[in-house]
């Protein structure tokens, strides 16, 4: 690809490490900086929150580093800071993820903290009530934030009746009701070796990691008990919903059905999304909405390949008087891509960007570890590191036109506007 290709390919540097009982991790050894980054992921996330209790997964993720094993919350944090260990957990719609960074010399202490957080979280009353108060404060803080409100409303309405309608961080009804037992039940159901994926980058060798894997994760249950979730498509397509808020600028979020990551057309859809609104300075939406007309500072589109309801989405923020104009431009660009596909020039530019920028995703240990997790979760194979650019290069104008039609369909979207838009 370039004159640095004398370096071994990233794919060839990925080692599959297996512990005695078969726990597997992907490792890239690198001793340039004396640190280790580890990322872990388990299937679940907020889509597995119990009926009526949205926010359970986020609540639990916020408590895993608030006391475990012999250490109460204060002692746990003292220990993290004493060894400069960075450890945290989070929940998305489909996954529970964990993030670790440690100086390599404190590997033993750091890995032990990960083990304790996953296997022996205490969920003591004080941190449970504290994190609950923090989650409620954060909900109050966001209640009139136009972007958050638009996003929440979009999911509530588009996925009405489906688990994706529930907010990842819960709501004012659910957060006060979630009990310690609910958190434990969630953990028992979701935390397991069955869906566990692990990626490690940094100053550690495969043999050492194999031993550590067994001691960190060995006591996790073998099987998960995931609630089955139906695959769905978003509703309300072709409609607009206005939420009144007394602000001079409206926040707009739109979306429609998209493709799953495993779909053979996903890479082509990525190229098309880049052309519509994925590229920062080069996309159609940037040029038409921002550069030519000065309608907005931020305008974007993205693919959200959710496991049970993949989407294409986008949004902008523009003054109330120009909402109608901005929406008609966005809709016109989506329609134009749906009916005609991209032209040769923009397709060529998008492909060049996506191919050339690929290595920029791996220039820190944490980013590289995240990419290794993503490839495992989506079952892309170790060679995806090298294979992916070939897939982008192979996208033809005919493919692009076909997939644009497939994704954007009739061009119809569901739009939520928060503000006081004029003429909509």
């Amino acid at each position: 690809m370039n004159d640095s290709s004398i370096k071994p390919s990233l794919s060839s540097r990925i080692q599959t490490v297996r512990s005695a009982s078969g726990i597997e991790a992907w490792l890239i050894e690198d001793y340039t900086v004396p640190l280790i980054a580890m990322e872990i992921a388990m299937r679940g996330g907020s889509s597995q929150d119990p009926e009526g209790l949205p926010g359970t997964a986020s609540f639990l993720a916020g408590l895993l580093d608030e006391g475990a094993g012999p250490y109460d919350s204060a002692a746990f944090h003292d220990r993290l800071d004493d060894y400069a260990i960075e450890l945290g957990f989070s929940a998305s719609r489909d996954m529970i993820t964990g993030h670790l960074r440690t100086l390599s010399k404190h590997r033993a202490e750091a890995f032990d903290m990960v083990r304790l957080a996953l296997i022996e979280p205490r969920l003591d009353e004080e941190p449970v009530e504290r994190v609950r108060a923090q989650m409620l404060a954060s909900l109050r803080h966001e209640v009139n934030d136009p972007d958050t409100r638009a996003n929440r409303t979009w999911f509530e309405q588009a996925f009405a009746g489906h688990t994706y309608s529930r907010a990842v961080k819960g709501n004012f009804e659910s957060i006060p009701k979630i009990t310690r037992n609910d958190l434990i039940a969630y953990r028992d159901k979701i935390f397991s070796r069955e869906t566990l994926k692990i990626a490690v980058v940094g100053a550690i060798d495969a043999k050492t990691l194999a031993t550590e894997l067994e001691s960190i994760f060995g006591k996790l249950p073998a099987k998960a008990h995931l609630t089955s979730i139906p695959v769905t498509t978003p509703k309300m397509i072709g409609t607009r919903k206005i939420i009144d808020l007394d602000i001079a600028q409206s926040s707009i979020r739109y979306g429609g059905p998209g493709l799953q990551q495993s779909d053979p057309d996903f890479v082509t859809a990525t190229v098309i999304n880049h052309i519509l609104g994925g590229g920062v300075f080069s996309s159609r939406l940037f040029r038409e909405v921002r550069e030519k007309r000065g309608l907005a500072y931020s305008v974007f589109s993205q693919l959200a390949p959710l496991d049970f309801g993949p989407l294409h989405m986008g949004g902008t923020s523009t003054k109330n008087e120009r909402v109608a104009e901005s929406l008609s431009i966005i809709e016109a660009e989506i329609n134009s891509l749906a009916s005609d596909g991209p032209n040769d020039e923009e397709l060529d530019i998008a492909k060049k960007y996506l191919i050339g920028s690929w290595p920029l995703r791996f220039d820190t240990s944490t980013k590289l570890a995240n990419q290794l997790i993503h490839m495992q979760v989506e079952n892309l194979g170790r060679d995806y590191m090298e294979r992916r650019n070939g897939l982008v290069a192979a996208v033809t104008r005919e493919d692009a036109a076909r997939v644009a039609k497939r994704v954007y369909g009739s061009g119809a979207i569901f739009t939520v506007i928060v503000g006081r838009p004029v003429g909509v």
Partner: protein
Amino acid sequence: MSDALKDAPSGGPDISHVTLKNGLEIVVIPDHRTPVVTHMVWYRNGSADDPIGKSGIAHFLEHLMFKGTEKHRQGEFSDVVTALGGQENAFTSVDYTAYYQRVAREHLKTMMEFEADRMTGLVLTDEIVDPERDVVIEERRMRTDTDPAAELGEALAATLFTHHPYGKPIIGYMHEIEGLKREDALNYYRRFYTPENAILVVAGDVSKDEVVRLADETYGKIAARGEKPVRLRPREPDPRSTRRVTLADPKVEQPSLQLAWLAPSYTTATKGEAEALEVLVQLIGASGTGRLHRKLVMDEAVAVAAGAWYQSTAVDRSRLLVYGVPRPGVTLEALEDRILAVLDDMAKHPVEAGELRRAKTRLVADAIYAQDSQSSLARMYGSALATGSTVDDVKTWPEAIETVDAEAVQKAAQTCLNRHRMVTGYLMKDEAA
């Protein structure tokens, strides 16, 4: 050094610092892990250098720098960056404006050619300037005017800095942004965008010799102006009063408060003073172990969150902030009292050895973690040099932090966190509306 970090390399990568004949400074930060470079140009001017009545011009010009030159039409530079698979952007702070691209290593010279070209070749027409002004107006609406917390932040800064331009918003006041003209941008551009005023930072899979050679072939062709532009900065007088700003808005459902003080920056501080403040802020504000969190969020349960922030990298006298978010049923006044009690304790009693060691360990580790990211390192060195620190200051920062003792921390708390010179900001719900 603290035990935790005794044998960690303190210097990190082998950093070079060179100055071209025309005055352009160059910093090279090697990182050979991936075949990528981060190319940044920093100008020593920011919003605090906006002329009176022209607030926002530094930031507006940053937007306009993407609009083309005599040699290259609007969008051409961005098109080339995109076609090479690069990423680019720019940012404006109170003291500096910076532009960067991240590309595969073999494209470094192309980036330098374009960036050097727009140091002197910018062309602006009203057709291009007018819609971009609307973009900035929408940016201000998005970031500030739809967010009561951001509006309070603006009022708090304007109250803390009564005379110095750090009190003005980086993006500018709306009524002044609306009046910014093409000529204002060009005047400001001609004054500050010169080789003597710029710092080139290149981090990544390159050698010093290669960077200097390429820089000489590109930036080196720009004629020197003869001298550096001067920043005209009035000095902030010593405060004599407490001040209180309150913002009440019907959209606020979660009240919060901030306390703010003037504080020396690394550039204005006497030796060790800024380091002591940095450790002090870690001791009171660290997210899981800081005093504010332990006492107010955990023990007394009067706050859901509390922390601190210190803007240590700045040309002039800077600021230190403490914030708190009350639990339901706790008034802002009551929380303010409890925060002040925690701060008073820091001034009255020396911190114990274990707590001090923990704070320093955590701070110093950040210097090692930063080595994992070439763009973080480039930003560290760029912002330091643009505000008057040296490469050596950044390199030896971990050692300087290690020398901070309990006495220095106590003195920093006594000197800086004076409740008679404090600005308090309350964010609350407007119940009447």
